[in-house]
Amino acid sequence: MALQSLDIKRRSATTTPSPQARETLEVAKLIDVSACIGCKACQAACMEWNDIREEVGTNVGVYDNPNDLTAHQWTVMRFDEVETDDGGLEWLIRKDGCMHCEDPGCLKACPSPGAIIQYSNGIVDFHEENCIGCGYCITGCPFNVPRISKQDGKAYKCTLCSDRVAVGQAPACAKVCPTGAIQFGSKEKMKEYAETRITDLKERGYDNAGLYDPAGVGGTHVMYVLHHADKPALYHNLPKDPTISPTVSLWKGITKPLAMAALGAAALGSLFHYVMKGPNEVSKELEDEMEREDERLRALEKEDAK
């Protein structure tokens, strides 16, 4: 199977260009929040198919369990109780997990060659064999999705069941979804289907129903139909206009040529560090520093804007 099952479009920390001659179908998963009952069948199917089991946790006063994404729980339901203006109630339930960005921040931030792959069908996949556990993917992700495993120190997240998709099957979560709130198909078909749902929701009084396919990350291969597309934050702080962290963008964008020049010296330093202290410690240290840097840059940007 190897490389032939899915064509690779991008590969982390790799300069060799990927093959581009074949045009494969772009796929997408559409999550129709208006049909989601928060049953967690997707969570169960994800655990079962991917052979991952989180530990049995505790109840902290909410239905969200496990309480957050983990290396063993690649999707979780986020429950929010929102009171409406007319005294009614909406129980907004959003399936959280990897959005499979067209412009993946995780992949851009990843320093380990081939640890993060984007297939030509749009799936962004982690290949843990190559993961050094530095955690940069977390910093690079505008949706706070990847998690480092306590067991092996490597990063894990939803693969969009690339193994199933590779043989023509839908991801486990999409197939299992009892109410059809999760649909899977070509991105084009998913957008068409979303339109029918949005029309229906508007007829039912949700004037601001719409599709969530944020442009800031080049669109996503996991999209939402929201009843309140004008207020994505209602759905457990879904970012209104997600973008890749400026540090990561900068590295991959304007400064790349400069970086190439600087590579020699920097890489040697890094190698030394890697050999001496091992990847995990490096990751923690570098990540902290990178985050501090991010903060500083954001502050500077704000000042610039003034």
Binding site: E48, T255, A266, L271, L297, L300, D304
Partner: protein
Amino acid sequence: MHVSRRGFFKVCAAGMSGSSLVAMGFAPTAALAEVRQFKLAHTTETRNTCPYCSVACGLLVYSIGDGAKNTKAKVIHIEGDPDHPVNRGTLCPKGAGLLDFVSSPARLKYPEVREAGTNEWKRISWEEAYSRITRLMKDDRDANFIEKNADGVTVNRWLSTGFLAASASPSEAGYITHKVVRNLGMLAFDNQARV
């Protein structure tokens, strides 16, 4: 936008260390990219029905092996049957977790007895279980069977032993259970429908 020199180098270092490692022959593994193999390719698929609620979703049960004599089938995955007109391949969180039911550590494996007053289970053989249970049944039935009531009417009932029947066993099990239990004259007989 400003980027400090220090920050820039940090980013560079992080971003390219891997590449540089590869270039220098230090790669931990070859940077091959492949998806996980599709794990069901040569498993045996069996049609089944979900044992939980009465939507009765169609299941596909996947077991290791092809049924050959020397292969012991073991269920490794369960998903919805797309042909089924009600669930159409979908399942609920219980159905989607059925694999862990089949292989639950709480599954009972051997007949056991807890003797009166003791605090533990003791493994016994099926034959011992059958003979001890039926001995208790017969002694109780023979002692307490009511052939005629106070008015002399034939009633042929046995009230001092009762039976609660399963709600997830096949109808064939239900049928034979009814046949055997009622035949003994039992009336304290019910199933989960009551609650």
